[in-house]
């Protein structure tokens, strides 16, 4: 899957489950720019896992601070 497709998938998750209507760009920070508190971070993690059928093991993956970090982790998990 291309990075663009992964980003579009995350965008869809954010729209459906976090009511985020704006565009997502890789440099956006999950907390400061997307305004995600702990409950919403959890929601994002769970819904992204559901959509891409991956398990985000952020304890092993290192910090996921931006949308771009999330895209790379998903790409790696998908074997891309």
């Amino acid at each position: 899957m291309t990075d663009e497709a992964i980003l579009a998938g995350i965008q869809e998750v954010a729209r459906l489950h976090l009511a985020w209507e704006g565009a997502l760009t890789p440099d956006m920070r999950l907390v400061e720019d997307l305004h995600l508190d702990s409950i919403r971070l959890l929601t994002l993690a769970a819904e992204v896992e559901n959509r891409f059928r991956v398990f985000l093991d952020e304890l092993d993956e290192g910090a996921i601070a931006t949308v771009g970090d999330l895209v790379s982790v998903i790409r790696r998990k998908l074997g891309g």
Binding site: A19, L36, D37, S38, A45, L70
Partner: protein
């Protein structure tokens, strides 16, 4: 009668029926009977004693919801040590923030050892390095295999330490004795006695470092050798339907949660997820540990009536970790009670007068057996019914004190009574909460210290140093408490800085604490109320703001910005 938690474990361990049922995110179950938990705890106790743990030592625990947590928790108690359950990290959360928090709590609790899940252990490295517990950090597998040995506990010994808030600024470790915990558990279990036809069973997704999860769900089940179904909090937040489905599937009779959880269910559960669910078994849906929004109670009843939810199951309650948990309970099996009170009389005269168009407040009921309650003024004088004041309580499960904080403990107690710092009044024999006199922010069932939030905003360009107040309250018709930040602009602030202030403050608070500020109010220099010694008065700031009296007098050029969060509210 059992007087300590290990006594219960021994009793339950001898009978084969009860235990813990863990549900994972695919709703697969894993069973762990009390006998197995006791066996594993005995092995942990032997290992702890072998590495030099001594009676009264604090052992911090960082585990996700699962059987290892219980082996570690009861193992520490069997070794005569005092378990200190701590928060595991939040998914996708900030590591730096988590590490600082955890290091602070380890220091405050004076932990000699950290026991952690093998995956979390790597994550904890920096916190452990900073706090330097002298026996380090280990997983259960790294404890030596040794002969089973235990150190018996006395009822007056500390049973556990829980943090009333998990913040980096001044976290307060609440120390509870076995006697206090046993008294609280007895009170709770008396509310749901088993009868010939009915054997109660509890379902909980609450975190195990939280009083409502551990003291409210786990210990009562253990003390009765009953079964408790546990769901990890992160599973509930991701899929709230798992909670309701578990209640239906296991015929749960009792299940508690804070207000926000009921709201989350209303907003995030789809009809399709409820197929085949029957909630008619749910007799007591306790709602406590944060402000209760009447709109949420009604929405929950409306939404889930189709699946058999009984409105009279909803039971608003009040408690605090300093009391081990419950202080008041609404009558069971009664529709929740709310009344409307005149706003003016409440805010200006501190008097509760029913008024048709007034502010709606939910009753949290009467003191549970063994507890007494008084409403007092600031000077500590008793106030009559219908007068708003500080809530003082007295009962058999009060904390021993804040560990290592003799001054804070002395401030909290007077003649055996505890000042809760909460504000409220008694109306027709029932307690109604109106706000807080103490400096605490309670959002989604968790307490935060305002200082931590204020500190984050102080670094923003254009903010006057030391002149930020954070406070939370329950706005009328809102689904939960809102967080407001009051900032004084510095006299030297440029026009550009002033304009950017609200957004910049919000970002700084989010970055440092993970909390979304719902309102950011920019004020001119000197507008925040202070004590004679110059300390900011937080609850007074909020009171003035809500009364519309915190207007930026004189300097009308300054924008009074109320930026309502665009997210879930």
């Amino acid at each position: 009668m059992a007087e300590t938690i290990p006594d219960w474990l021994e009793q339950a361990g001898r009978r084969p029926e009860g235990g813990l049922r863990f549900l994972d995110r695919h709703e697969r179950e894993r069973w762990c009977g009390w006998a197995e938990i006791r066996e594993r705890a005995l092995a942990v106790a032997g290992g702890l004693l072998a590495i030099g743990i001594e009676r009264g030592d604090r052992v911090a625990l960082v585990f996700p919801t699962g059987s290892e947590f219980f082996a570690a928790f009861f193992g520490a108690q069997l070794a005569g040590a005092v378990p200190v359950p701590l928060y595991p990290p939040v998914r996708l959360g900030k590591r730096g923030e988590y590490v600082r928090r955890t290091a602070q709590m380890l220091e405050r609790a004076g932990a000699r050892l950290v026991l952690a899940d093998s995956r979390l252990r790597r994550f904890l490295g920096e916190a452990v390095t900073a706090a330097q517990p002298d026996l380090g950090c280990r997983t259960l597998a790294e404890l030596p295999q040794d002969a089973y040995r235990t150190v018996p506990a006395e009822p007056a010994d500390l049973a556990l330490i829980q943090f009333s808030s998990g913040t980096t600024v001044d976290p307060k470790p609440v120390a509870l004795s076995h006697r206090a915990v046993a008294a609280q558990v007895e009170i709770l279990n008396d509310f749901w006695r088993d009868t010939g036809e009915l054997r109660h069973s509890c379902v909980s997704w609450l975190p195990l470092y939280h009083d409502m999860g551990l003291i409210g769900c786990v210990f009562p089940a253990l003390a009765r050798d009953a079964t408790l179904t546990l769901i990890a909090p992160e599973v509930f937040v991701a899929r709230p339907a798992v909670w309701l489905r578990a209640i239906s599937r296991y015929r749960g009779t009792v299940s508690p949660a804070p207000n926000f959880a009921y709201d989350l269910c209303v907003n995030r559960i789809a009809d399709a997820e409820m197929e085949g669910v029957d909630l008619s078994c749910w007799r007591t849906a306790l709602n406590g540990s944060e402000s209760i929004a009447p709109a949420v109670l009604r929405a929950f009843c409306d939404r889930f009536a189709r699946w058999g939810f009984r409105p009279e199951a909803l039971t608003p309650v009040y408690g605090l970790s300093e009391a081990a948990l419950a202080v008041t309970f609404s009558d069971l099996d009664r529709l929740f009670r709310s009344r409307r009170f005149d706003r003016e009389a409440l805010s200006r005269k501190g008097a509760a007068c029913e008024a048709e168009e007034g502010r709606e407040i939910v009753s949290v009921g009467r003191p549970v057996p063994g507890f007494r309650l008084r409403i007092r003024d600031e000077a500590g004088r008793d106030l009559g019914a219908g007068r708003v004041g500080r809530i003082w309580i007295e009962g058999p499960s009060l904390m021993e004190g804040y560990l290592g904080h003799p001054e804070a403990t002395a401030r909290a107690f007077r003649d055996g009574w505890l000042d809760t710092g909460d504000l409220g009044f008694v109306h027709q024999g029932e307690l109604y909460l109106t706000g807080r006199a103490k400096d605490a922010i309670i959002l989604r069932g968790r307490n935060y210290a305002p200082e931590e939030i204020e500190l984050a905003a102080e670094g923003v360009a254009g903010v006057r140093g030391g002149c930020v107040v954070a406070a939370s309250w329950l706005p009328e018709d809102a689904p939960g408490e809102a967080l407001a930040l009051f900032v004084e602009a510095s006299r030297e602030a440029t026009a550009a800085e002033l304009e950017a202030l609200p957004a910049a403050c919000r970002e700084a608070v989010l970055g440092a604490t993970g909390l979304v500020a719902d309102q950011i109010v920019v004020l001119p220099s000197g507008a925040l109320p202070r004590t004679s010694s110059g300390k900011l008065r937080r609850s007074e700031t909020l009171r003035l703001y809500l009364a519309g009296e915190l207007a930026p007098a004189g300097e009308a050029a300054l924008p009074l910005t109320a930026a309502l969060a665009e997210d879930e509210r």
